[in-house]
Symmetry: C2
Subunit: 418 residues, 2 copies
């Protein structure tokens, strides 16, 4: 990779597994010190060590049946403070000046929505001052502070979001996300041995992959990167090799011109899928709203929705959810069913999603047909189909999902270099 050698700062984020114990913190510190010794300004964002967050949550449930959100956030924020201070100490031990800052000290302002606050803005004065003094600045991930100085946490994907937000606010050259995988792959390497690590991927493609089960990065941080066009480099903290660069896929910016890029970039799959089907619902306006509003109010995340109109003025309406939500979703659906006159309710909890993702699909026809044909040749039944501009998802039996990933990976020649 050849980034232009600007003197803009770099942001490096280390996840929980990368700072899980003293030894790993020291290893991460060596990597940070190496980058800093080249004269670059470095901002480090850390998660809590290993299972710390889970342990603190357990402790909270030992003192209270329903721990208060505000208190929980302040409690959990201590996890990142511990790893940040240890990282600073480890850097000092390598003779690298460094200082740790809490979310409040780093000026990361957020909404007052405890447990899932959103960053509103960043006041980076303290960070800038410390960088000018030649220090590596370590910022606690996952946390912010309200206008009245209450500590918040940013919810799922919070530390990645902190890192990307800081990179944007400080005009960083790039945001490095160090994690326990080597990058973004064309498919899960545990399922497809020939899966290839992508050198580069677009934000939208990464978003689709992230939402479809490639849990390397939370979609939220990717969206923020896309908004500010901040390059995000996902790599392993355990090996010393380039990972995957998430960046704008423009002509000229890329190692290869877009025209000869493969149109399918990756295959995602998710084994945690259940389905509910309302059978022969009279096809009238307001049916979908009647079902999905109560589900949303109950906090149930509905995934794929597919509706097929029959000839008799009725329709079968199917949607997928995680298996853990099935029971509760079924309860709600049953209570609504009489009002919308569904003939019956059918469920399945042994399903999976398999998706092909790639921006190139927009401009090139035939991808859907090739996907369905490939699955048919492998005798894999398709339950539900759903598509977006850059994605085609098929719901298939769970016990055939990994086969599906393998045959699709081969059919779209993802094992070959771009």
């Amino acid at each position: 990779m050849s980034w232009p050698e600007l003197r803009r700062p770099l942001v490096q984020k280390y996840g929980g597994s990368s700072v899980a114990n003293a030894e790993r913190i020291r290893a991460a510190a060596r990597r940070v010190a190496r980058t800093a010794s080249s004269g670059r300004s470095v901002i480090v964002v850390v998660s809590a060590m290993g299972d710390t967050t889970d342990e603190l949550i357990q402790l909270a449930y030992q003192v209270a049946d329903r721990p208060d959100d505000r208190e929980m956030d302040l409690l959990l924020s201590t996890g990142e403070t511990v790893s940040a201070t240890l990282m600073a100490m480890a850097l000092h031990d390598l003779h690298q000046p460094a200082v740790s800052l809490t979310g409040a000290q780093a000026g990361i302002r957020s909404t007052r929505v405890f447990s899932r606050a959103r960053i509103t803005d960043i006041h980076p004065e303290r960070i800038s001052t410390e960088l000018r003094h030649g220090k590596v600045v370590i910022v606690t991930g996952f946390q912010g502070v309200t206008d009245d100085q209450d500590v918040t946490t940013l919810g799922r994907g919070g530390s990645d979001t902190t890192a990307v937000a800081l990179a944007c606010a400080l005009g960083a050259e790039r945001c490095d996300i160090y994690t326990d995988v080597k990058g973004i792959y064309t498919a899960d390497p545990r399922v497809v041995p020939g899966a290839r690590k992508l050198a580069s991927i677009g934000y939208e493609e990464m978003l689709e992959l992230a939402q479809l089960g490639a849990r390397v990065m939370h979609p939220r941080a990717v969206e923020l990167g896309e908004l500010y066009e901040m390059p995000i480099h996902v790599a392993s903290s355990f090996v010393d090799e380039p990972g995957t660069l998430i960046q704008i896929q423009r002509d000229g910016d890329l190692p290869m011109p877009m025209e000869i890029r493969k149109n399918v970039r990756g295959i995602a799959h998710d084994l945690d899928v259940a389905r509910i089907t309302l059978v022969r619902v009279p096809d009238r306006p307001g049916v979908a709203a009647a079902i999905f509003q109560p589900l949303a109010q109950a906090g149930i995340s509905v995934d794929t929705i597919a509706q097929s109109s029959g000839a008799d003025g009725t329709t079968d309406l199917s949607f997928t959810i995680s298996r853990g939500s099935l029971e509760r979703a079924l309860e709600i659906t049953r209570s609504i069913s009489p009002r919308i006159h569904a003939a019956s309710i059918d469920t399945a909890d042994d399903l999976a999603k398999v998706s092909i993702v790639g921006t190139g699909m927009q401009s090139a026809p035939g991808y859907a047909a090739r996907m369905f044909g490939t699955l048919a040749d492998a005798n894999i039944n398709i339950n539900i189909i759903s598509t977006s501009d850059i994605r085609i998802t098929c719901v298939v039996p769970r016990d055939r999902a990994e086969d599906a990933v393998r045959v699709l990976h081969a059919a779209f020649e993802l094992d070959r270099e771009d």
Copy 2:
């Protein structure tokens, strides 16, 4: 105890053993909720849970040989934040509104001397607002914040100091210190089975006892209480009975007039005593400075000092230190010895201090004589004698120290009620 029923707030401090686990936190929360339910404003100060602080220090030494002071303070401050948030959650569980505040949020400003900061002032606006909203306010002990928002810790006795300082700043009626002992005793109950818990004691007497081995409260917090005349109530968090009230000993304020109070309030002892004697030092000005300045610079705390002038123009100069400091102190003393022409250096590391303490001794003679006579009758040899206005200390052989405490406790009739 009959305190005037003013509507001034109460401060309650819970030490590490009182919040060592979820069960104890819930027990402490019940006590707090009971006080709050009477309509009183309550501020709670908590220490870190049990051994948390030691564990964090260990972690620091795993990542760095010499952990940075600033980072160590921020690291250690998380311990109190954890117990404060858990206490708030436990109070919510009892339907008692509560909010936890870090040192920074509570406005506890300190000097920028990491690991042993002093409180400079307290900006209690946030605390007052929360109290007005009917909440119990839980403040993390042991920590402050500098003007530029860096977190400090207050060193030994820090949480007690936080509690007393808050009580003073908020005009509290009283500061309750909940700990694992039931109060201040006339002597260590493990040594003297007949030792009695004192209902009340003066600040100066408490200071002498604290400095002499009764490690219930750090002298620093007692001094602050004395300065602001803040009553401090020391009691056990595990039983429900009055402890000892540290307060001004004035006529009329007390259960009994001063004239008929016992003049000796308690016997303190300390088994961790070593002695260095410089033998036959020529008696010239500057000798004491030549010895004690280098010891102070090396951070060695010198305790009792006694000098006896001989007839031949020389003097024997003895001083005591903790046993752990003996080797280092001896090294320094040896290096100075040639300059001050001491004939030899003598040491002992098998000593103890036994002290009688009481403000009444100031105005009544004969206490020293009775102390020495009692020890002589018990055939206990006295090594060094040192006195203050309200204290007489004898250094005795360690293996006779507990006998000394027992015979003195009996001789001064401390087992009888005032």
